[in-house]
Symmetry: C2
Subunit: 370 residues, 2 copies
Amino acid sequence: MSTKLGIIGGGQLARMLGMAALPLGIDCQSYDPDSKACAGKIAPIFQGSFDDSDALQEFAAQVDLLTYEFENVHLQTLAALDKSSPIYPQLASLEISQHRLREKKLFNHLEIRTNAFESVKNTTDLALAISNINLPLVIKSVSGGYDGKHQWVLKTQHDVDAWILHRQQENWRGQNPGWIAEGWINFQREVSMIGVRNVRGEMKFYDLCENVHRQGILSHTINKINDPLQADAEHYVAKLMQHLQHVGILTVEFFVCDGRLIANEMAPRVHNTGHWTIEAAHTSQFENHLRAIMNFPLGETASTTQSVIINCIGGHPDIKNILNYPNLHWHDYTKPARPGRKVAHMTYCDKNEISEVKIRELLKLQIFNV
Amino acid sequence: MSTKLGIIGGGQLARMLGMAALPLGIDCQSYDPDSKACAGKIAPIFQGSFDDSDALQEFAAQVDLLTYEFENVHLQTLAALDKSSPIYPQLASLEISQHRLREKKLFNHLEIRTNAFESVKNTTDLALAISNINLPLVIKSVSGGYDGKHQWVLKTQHDVDAWILHRQQENWRGQNPGWIAEGWINFQREVSMIGVRNVRGEMKFYDLCENVHRQGILSHTINKINDPLQADAEHYVAKLMQHLQHVGILTVEFFVCDGRLIANEMAPRVHNTGHWTIEAAHTSQFENHLRAIMNFPLGETASTTQSVIINCIGGHPDIKNILNYPNLHWHDYTKPARPGRKVAHMTYCDKNEISEVKIRELLKLQIFNV
C-alpha cells in the first residue's frame, strides 16, 4: 500500500514535491482553492479555501500524513487536523515562521545574529524604534506578506509622518496584528541555507546559495560551492532545527554584511532558492523533504555540479530558445502568466564555476515582468 | 496552450515519459487496457484494448500527437490513427522492429553485422537453416514475444525433432506468422546504444551501456563511459535512424563477439537499458524522446557520472535499505508484484568507475523473482 501524502497548497512547490514522491511510491494529493492549481497534474487537487476547516478536515481524513507548501494557514485550523493526520514540519516551526517578531526573537535566543528590531504597535513604539535603531527603518507587518508586500521603508521624518498618518487613518489596526521595525542593512549579498532533519534527528545541509532579488522578487540563485560562510550557516540552521525538533526542510535566508551572516527569515518548507538541487545535488530538496517526513534515511546533499537557477516572472520565454541552450533545464509550472507571478524556472549546470558574464548571458533568456 | 501527447501503453515507460513531460509543459495521457496501469498517476489512462481501433481512434482525437511505449499494436490500426494525430517514431521504424526477419535484413542491407539467420516456415526451411548455420540454433517467432518468450534453443537433433513435432501439431501456424532461425552466439557481453533524432534530422547518442540478462530478463545495466565500441555503435544507429528518417529514441541491442558488435534487435522507443540517463546524463532519454517528437532542439546526452541500474523483478525490497545506501536512487513503478514482472529499478551513481565488487554488493539489494 502506498502512503498517501496530503500537501496543503497546490502550487509549483507541491507539484515538484509530487514529482519527487512518484518514484518513491508515495501518492500525493494537494489542497488548494483553485481546482486548476498547477500541482493537480501530479497531486490531484482537493478544492477548498484555506480557512475552511471542515474541508481541510475532510482532506486530512483521506491521507496518512500532511505537509504544506504554503504557510499562511491558520495555526488553529492545522492544529485540529494534526490530531487525525500528523503534519510535518510540525506546527512549532510554522508558528515561528508566521510571525516575524517571534522569529527574530528566537534567532536572538539561539545566538543567531539579526539586524536590530523593535515591535511597533503605536506611535510611542515607533519613536522608540527610531531612537534605538535610527532611520532608515524597514517596517513589516509581523505576519502575512511576501515578495516585498506589506513592507515600507522609512528613510526620512516625512516618510515616518506619512506612515503614522496612514496607520491613524485605520486606527492602528487594519488587518494587521502589529509591525516590526528593523534597521536598514547595507548588505553585500543575500544567501540561503537549506537544511533537512528527519524524525530520528539526522540532519543534512545543502551548499549555501546566493540569491538576487529584483523589485522584491527572487530573480536568480547561484549555488555557491565552498562558500566561506557555509559552516556558519549550517551551524545556525542546525541550532534552529534542533531547538524546534523540526522535521523536513528548513530554509533560512540571510543577509551578508561585513562578511557575517545576519538572519532575515526562515521557511519551514521546500524553497524557491533550492530548485537547483533537482539537477545539481545528489538528492533534491523535494526528495529529502519527503524522506524526512516519511522517517526514511536522508539522501546525500552534496552538489554534483555548479548551477544557477533563473526564475521566469509574469511570462514564458520561447521554449525552443531555452532548450537550444546547452545544459539548461526547463521547468514550466504551466500556470497562466500575470505580472509578478512566478511561472517557470530554468537551471543551468556547469562543471566549472559559472562566471558573472555567463550569468548575464543567461539572464537574457529570462522574462521578468512584474 | 499545452501540447497534448498521447502515449500508447500505460506502463513504467509511459510513466517516466510523463514525468519528463511535466516540466516541459507537455500534457500526457496514456492508453492502456488496465485502468490502473502505473502511468495513470501522471498520464491519465484512457482505457481500451490494443486491438480496439475505435477506442484508439477516440483516444487519438483527444491529443495533438502520439507516441508509444508498447510496440505490439497492429500497424494497420496505428496507420489509421496517424491520419488524425501524427505518430512518432514513425510507423516505418515500428514496422521493422515488429518483425525480426525484416529487422535483420535491414541491418544487413545497411552493412550492420548480424549473426547468420534464415527464415523458417516449414521443415524444408529448417533443414536448410541447419545446413547453412549449423546447430545450435535459436528459433524465434518473427513477431511478438519479449523477455525470452516465444524463443527456443535447438542444440541437438532431438531438440529439432521435438520442435518440428510441436509445429506439426499446430499445423505450422499457431498464432505465428513465421520464425527466424539464428546461429548461436558465444558473446562476451551484451550492450545497447540509445540514439535520438529529431524532426529536423539532428542526432545525438548516449554512452554505450552493458546489459546483464538473467533467465531472459534484464537484471542490470552498466553505463560504460569510453567503451571502445562507442563509435561503431553510434555509426550503426545513425545509419538506421537516417535510413528510417526516424524521429524519437531508437535503441539497438548488440552482442559483442570477438570484440565486434553483432546487432540483435532494435526498439523504436525509450528503453529499459536507458533508465540511468535520468540521473547520470545531462538530459534523460525520456526528455530527449519528447524533445525529438516535439521538434525541439535535442539536449546534451553526455554522461554526468558513472552509473548502474538494477531492476527489481517480481518483488519490492525494503525501501529503507535502498534509501540508506548512499547515492542509490529508487524508482518504484507502484505495480503489483508478480513473478517475472519488472516493478522497480534503482540507479547507483559514482564519480569513479564502478567495480565488479561494488556491483555484486548492489545486487544483494535486488529482488529477482521470476
